[in-house]
Symmetry: none
Subunit: 200 residues, 4 copies
DNA sequence: CAGTAAACGAGACGGTACGTCGTGTCTTCTG
DNA sequence: CAGAAGACACGACGTACCGTCTCGTTTACTG
């Protein structure tokens, strides 16, 4: 968030008829930096291009839209948060949520994610990509937690979708209202309810 | 939704040193129409001004930001959905959610709401207003349902916030991903979980 | 050519719903300066906009094309060279040509004119405007010299067009090849031929 | 003019460490075609490269500028118009001019020539090459007509330059204003004046 | 009942960003 | 080692909006 500043007075000419990894990295880093500093409001292709010392066509060549770029920036944050079922869905969800919020809070990823959701509200293609590709991939692990619980008989299989929606929405609400810090106390309660067995 | 088209060749000059209600109505109607037709992507002050046959300063005079205008457009939809506690929180929530989704789906309000959430991601003031004024007002009734349930002893008072967050997030997830139709089946399950008594 | 440099940190806001003369003047001065310094190669709307401290839309609002702007820059050089017939066509033409070349050489007008001719080679509208409006206006006086000579019986009326073409082309050749200085010696000879009486 | 369209899916790989004549021909043909269809406005190295199926570096390797390429395209039009003095300068010039205009009008050469003149207005090197190499070569024959007339004593030797300038300018005026058709009637009159003996 | 104050429409202003195109350079890979 | 292929940084293109600023007009409220 600080190294990739305006720096890079390095000339990155073409390295032949193929993608220049240095340019791509510089663009992603610049996008991340812009988001970290100015959020969605300052996130323009021009700004990223300037900050990266890259030409706009280079950006458009590899990312067909702002949303595309946002998704890759988000994905580039390695910090893959794994989630392995331990036998207690509520505890697994609580644990995972805390890690996710820490990830959102401690890196520019929270802002990136908010930008992505905002972008999807004005760009139908972005919304489709979000719904059909980005989210399913990101939610693989969490869905796995629910599937494992269902396999154990803890929750009904047909309720996975609804519970997943509750889980996603809960996170979205706090990140979109920028209340990740204040909202932490609500996590255990919410996760217990989402994970509650149906036969009570 | 179609009457307020480009129409309005009516001259609405000043009516003296006070706000002209006809102009305000025309602006709100134009904003609504623009949102209905082009969504957040087409929602610009210029577009609203053109459509309303109003000067841009007239808009800025009464609404200090796009978010301000969006909130009033949303509020202008009279269809206030009331929610009176009947003694069964789960049923009350289910009922209310269905009405809300019907409202979002059958009017431009869904698009307005999505635009508002998107706008709040780029405008900190808008986010603050959303969090501290708009949402609390809108959620008065729903909060009332939870309060009544807590008063009855059905749910713990200290869990109201978490359950409310689950409720809000669930709705946001479906409206933001434009899945209000497909998601209906999940409503009863989710509402039952949100309303579940803690002592099982 | 020097006063209108990068200077002008003056804010020229709108003066209401009408053209701001200060902006127009600044744009014309900037265009003139850019042409004087960089010639046709540096003449871009962006460059003029930057130099003038004006927005691009302001330029496009009042001049629909680069050629349009060039023509007005050329016309703005007051130095209207008058040409009043004295009874000797050859001498009149020689005199007028010398003044014209001095005008082209001593001001940025020569470069402006060359830019205009170049522009007309890529923009059909510019060519049409050049042919049907710009040139006829500029050539009114010279045509008057020929008409007076014809009225005196010195040259046949039906030869005016051909002689005018010779006159124009002669000037174009020298300005387009940037040989106004070296070519001065040719003026009297050429003008004598153009003005020669037909009956020899 | 139409065969060399987008065609040429032929692979023209390197033929070793020397210039590939097929590539050069394809590039010249493409340049000619682009000029014929879109004129100077569409004449970009990119466009020629695309049309020729050639790499841009291949073009830059053999022609150091657009002007360079234009000159070779113009020269490649074999239709060398010869001009042999017959003893009557006026008739020779008239004849030569008609052939030149037919050449300019019936082939893309007119557009090429206009492009070349335009290009010379933004590129000083192109202007120098035009003045010192291209024009002298092209005008060898015409200059020969004047020289022969001077040798015969029909015109003074010291007036050759001025008369040549008149001749060139006359042609330029009509080609640059795209009036080759309408201007034909002026040819004989103009040529008679250019060729007029000085002692009248 | 004249004078003032404010809201109105209109739209120009200096800007920023858009997404595309062309520039001239560079590098890889193929023949 | 020439050639195609095409990526690269750069910057211009013409358009859309931004939020601000006057303008001239049209009332209603004041003194």
């Amino acid at each position: 968030m600080k190294a990739e500043k305006a720096a890079t007075p390095i000339r990155r000419a073409s390295i032949g008829a193929r993608r220049n990894p240095a340019s791509q990295a510089a663009i992603l880093a610049a996008a991340r930096a812009v988001l970290a500093e100015d959020g969605y409001a300052g996130f323009s292709i021009d700004a990223v291009s300037r900050r990266a010392g890259a030409g706009k066509p280079t950006i458009y060549r590899w990312w067909k839209s702002r949303a595309d770029l946002l998704m890759e920036v988000y994905a580039a944050e390695k910090a893959r948060i794994r989630a392995v079922p331990t036998g207690d869905l509520g505890r697994d969800l609580t644990e995972h949520t805390k890690e996710l919020w820490a990830f959102w809070w401690g890196t520019p990823s929270g802002r990136t994610f908010r930008a992505l959701l905002a972008e999807a509200q004005s760009d139908p293609d972005a919304l489709a990509a979000l719904r059909e590709k980005f989210l399913p991939e990101r939610l693989l692990d969490v869905r796995g937690l629910f599937a494992a619980a269902a396999a154990r008989g803890d929750i009904p299989t047909e309720e996975i979708e609804a519970r997943l929606a509750l889980y996603i929405g809960f996170n979205w609400f706090y990140v979109l209202t920028d209340q990740l810090e204040a909202g932490q106390a609500a996590i255990p309660v919410a996760m217990r309810l989402i994970a509650a067995s149906s036969r009570s």
